[in-house]
């Protein structure tokens, strides 16, 4: 071999392999070390808000169905639940039963009764909630597997199953319950306890919100109005005067005498409220009215 030039070509090949290899490694580590894509954190936050909106819609729909049952129970049981302690006028083939509103019923607290029935009814809905949050998917760069195998670039840390975003969203949503009921005109506003959601790509950040459901044309104030009208105009008063005053206050009221009792049917928001009173007996003690807006 020619001593001067024979080593040149193999050395050149070695240099090419090393140089291009180092170039590939530098590109891979630069890509792997990139901490943020422009807009990543903002989009992560927006996705969290989006999840909150979805949870809110789910709770709103569930509230609609649950409140229908609760309202029906209150309307047919004089503002009490189905399992009440009130005396009753039994149902006949022509008419449903009438609950007698007197001291045997206990404390007249429509909001508390509604909350109890509603909470029981909405529980299975909330426990069935499934998150549809789509986490970010990350594209592996070409050849990164080789470098990860040799420990030249770090492997991504996968979170525990229970800590991934959809699992946290589901778990925290299932813990929510009704906190407050507010009357707003003819509507009922239900406020639930707070739900905490994580923000992807931002481990220390969280978004806390209290879901709200607005139930259109489902008011409980009518019970307070009816109670006050009965207490003022009917209890221990003349029947004729009671009837006439009630008809002045409520246009859609039907009053029927049955022995000592007055059977009252009041149409409200296209649903009948049925109850009976004994004008010789006091009404049950009443709790304070619902907050209004």
């Amino acid at each position: 071999m020619n001593k001067k030039g024979s080593i040149f070509l193999p050395l050149f090949i070695l240099v090419v392999i090393v140089t291009l290899g180092v170039l590939a490694y530098t590109i891979e580590t630069t890509k792997a070390n990139r901490k943020d894509t422009i807009g990543l954190r903002a989009v992560s936050l927006l996705k969290t808000y989006d999840e909150a909106e979805k949870i809110n819609l789910y709770i709103e729909q569930a509230s609609k169905y649950s409140s229908q049952k609760a309202i029906n129970e209150l309307y047919t049981n004089a503002g009490f639940g189905e399992n009440n302690k009130c005396r009753k006028i039994p149902a006949t083939s022509a008419e449903p039963k009438s609950v007698i509103l007197d001291k045997n019923c206990g404390v007249f607290d429509v909001e508390k009764t509604f909350k109890e029935i509603f909470s029981e009814e909405i529980k299975p809905y909330i426990l069935n909630y499934k998150s549809t949050y789509q986490s970010f998917t990350y594209q592996e760069t070409t050849g990164s597997g080789i470098f990860k195998t040799f420990g030249l670039i770090p492997k991504p840390v996968q979170p525990e199953q229970g800590d991934i975003f959809p699992a946290v969203s589901e778990r925290n949503t299932k813990r929510t319950e009704i906190k407050e009921i507010i009357e707003k005109g003819d509507d009922l506003v239900l406020v639930f306890s707070e739900i905490e959601l994580k923000v992807e790509n931002s481990p220390e950040s969280k978004y806390v919100f209290a879901p709200k459901a607005i139930l259109k044309e489902q008011s409980l104030v009518i019970f307070d109005s009816l109670y006050e009208a009965l207490d003022e105009n009917c209890i221990k008063k003349e029947v004729a005067g009671c009837k006439s005053k009630l008809k002045n206050i409520f246009s859609d009221i039907v009053i029927e005498e049955q022995g000592n009792f007055l059977k009252i049917t009041l149409m409200h928001q296209n649903k009948p409220i049925r109850l009976a009173i004994d004008i010789g007996e006091s009404l049950p003690e009443k709790q304070s009215a619902l907050p209004t807006v």
Binding site: M1, N2, K3, S6, L9, P10, F12, I13, V16, I17, L20, A24, I27, E28, K31, R34, T37, I38, G39, L40, V43, L46, K47, D50, E53, K54, L57, Y58, Q61, A62, K64, Y65, P124, Y125, N128, Y129, K130, S131, T132, Q134, F136, T137, T141, T142, G143
Partner: protein
């Protein structure tokens, strides 16, 4: 011609090493340009990764007229057992036609919005069209309860054939 002193081995060394060099260059060429190792990653996040559900939420809250009654699409889905599906499907399709799609005239691709409702993996309601041999983009999904306490999954996505990436980004 060859140097008599030492160039006998020249053709033996030069040929194989040259071929080896070419192979190495071809390998790296494929790695850098064929597999896009040298491609610079996008610095700005893609609009598609947002995947927000605002269109779907607004669609579900939209009121439609069914049997002379105004109810939201979410409530109509709840009453699928009682109501005829066809009027609900037609109302939803009317709304889907108002959503933006890739511009066919500008060769952005052929796309249609598709709406489906699934209960325990069974499709209970479908509305809209799907592009033949199309891919699904901009998928939005939401869970809703039925009055019998079972959850259903509502999906809305763009079914698109030969759609340009820029068109999808614009719609997202």
């Amino acid at each position: 011609m060859f140097n008599k002193k030492g160039d006998v081995s020249y053709p033996i060394i030069f040929g194989p090493y040259t071929i080896l060099l070419l192979l190495i260059l071809i390998l790296y060429g494929v790695l850098f340009f064929g597999f896009d190792l040298a491609e610079s990653q996008a610095l700005v996040i893609s609009g598609q990764s947002y995947k927000d559900s605002i269109m779907l939420i607004n669609l579900l809250k939209t009121e439609i007229e069914i049997n002379s009654e105004n109810i939201t699409i979410a409530d109509a889905i709840n009453k699928l057992n009682e109501l005829n599906k066809e009027p609900i499907k037609k109302e939803i399709e009317k709304i889907l036609l108002t959503f933006s799609v890739p511009n066919q005239e500008k060769d952005e691709g052929t796309g249609f919005w598709f709406f489906e409702v699934k209960k325990e993996s069974n499709i209970i309601l479908e509305a809209g069209d799907k592009a033949n041999l199309g891919k699904d983009y901009l998928k939005q999904q939401i869970t809703l309860p039925l009055s019998n306490k079972q959850p259903i999954f509502v999906n809305l996505y763009l079914s698109c054939r030969s759609c340009e990436k820029e068109a999808i980004e614009r719609l997202s």
